[in-house]
Subunit: 258 residues, 2 copies
């Protein structure tokens, strides 16, 4: 049942029932009450347990499905959204070969990038990172450098910064030998589900080390994307600077997605 139909803070407007149900579900999910591969209790059970009608329960679940927190599968059940499928891969990996202007948009296989780890170290957080990650400057972080290739061509250089406190015991071996995407790793091994990411992009001239990795002359214009990945309640989990070689690829996005 919703734990508090009457909000504790009288200034807050009363939430509708289905929002309370949603909030309670979300708290259960965050707390890890529902295993990643296993189904939630079925809707009839949940609705009686929470003392709401099944329509209200569905309303709450609908919203969580819309936010990619849950997925429904008819005939099977409702699950915590796994973070290991192509959908999420391409929701977050936004670099594509530039279409040939002569041919328009060929029906092309979406391509997974090959990811190679260049370095994996511990370090102290720089002020900028610390502010983004809401930790203190000097707190320990993992600093991981990757290069991403499409079609044997290196197109992206990534530098990830992870707060050590959230990723205790992460090892290079574990990172390099993960079975799926890094976000799937965060979820399966650390219980951290990345829900959203904010990105800020700018054009800069490639520096020496990045130019070497990307195989381009120093000073070549590249896009530098600063990404902050967020989990529930917009808590930051990862800070990432991606440098993209856009000589033959584009950084793509869709506004106002349906």
């Amino acid at each position: 049942m919703p734990t508090a139909k009457i909000p504790s803070d009288p200034v807050q407007k009363a939430l509708p029932l289905y929002r309370l149900v949603k909030r309670d579900l979300q708290q259960m999910i965050e707390a890890g009450h529902y295993g990643i591969g296993k189904a939630l209790p079925n809707e009839a059970t949940l609705s009686t347990a929470m003392k709401v009608s099944i329509g209200t329960l569905r309303h709450a679940v609908d919203e969580l499905v819309h936010e990619h927190v849950l997925v429904r599968r008819q005939g099977k059940g409702t699950f915590v959204a796994p973070h290991n499928n192509a959908r999420f891969m391409f929701q977050f990996f936004q670099v594509e070969p530039r279409p040939d202007p002569e041919e328009g948009h060929p029906i092309r296989e979406l391509e997974y990038p090959d990811i190679a780890c260049i370095s994996f170290t511990r370090d102290k957080a720089q002020p900028t990172e610390a502010r983004a990650l809401r930790i203190r400057p000097g707190d320990q972080v993992f600093r991981i450098e990757n290069k991403l290739s499409l079609n044997k061509q290196v197109v992206v250089h990534d530098q990830l910064t992870l707060p050590l406190a959230k990723f205790r015991n992460l090892s290079e071996h574990q990172f390099v030998n993960r079975s799926s995407t890094v976000y799937a790793l965060y979820q399966s091994d650390f219980g951290i589900t990345v829900l959203r990411a904010q990105e800020r992009a700018r054009a800069v001239a490639a520096g020496r080390s990045v130019a070497r990795v990307l195989g381009m002359p120093v000073g070549c214009p590249v896009i530098e994307v600063h990404r902050l990945a967020l989990t529930f309640a917009d808590k930051p989990v990862e800070y990432r600077i991606s440098t993209i070689d856009t000589r033959a690829h584009d950084y793509v996005s869709v506004l106002s997605k349906k």
Copy 2:
């Protein structure tokens, strides 16, 4: 009532009722049956007219609201989404001052850009534009150049390409003296509602003319965004190349929006 509960193509899976209702509503909207400032018939009326329950009608409307095609206002009615508010302005205008690293994210007023028209001409479509807009190369287009300023500083150079066929009689005076955003103009004066946009960004070295407009040295890295704006059924309406000075501003985006 939904015009065809039984789909004409037997290969197609049968759509649920609420999808048929949605499709019919969408067709009415596209055809302009519902004026832009006026409310649709109320939900009870629509549901009886379409011979469906009010719950089913609401399900259909819910989806259109989620896609920003309609907006509901409690106590007033349901309206075709107007394209003239801050929400849409910033949904599509994605350039922001870079936050000061010393201060983090100040609570800053979102700022409207000042837009100045540099040139307004007719021309023939280039092959690339033509393909994007799905017209023939050589078909007539409007070609419009703008510069956008934030805080008196020019930060974006835009070049718009509009198919003349869709924008008959558009005049420079009309364009320059519009009362709101260009997308609001498309909607109010030409019945064209921009629903989505695809963008492809790359880093390039600023050319002579753009560098002059942006007040930067030639060769300075800039982001070049190629945007295709789409209406219902993903029909293209506008092709736009924006060149962004990212020395002090960022091109921002949010992935997996809630």
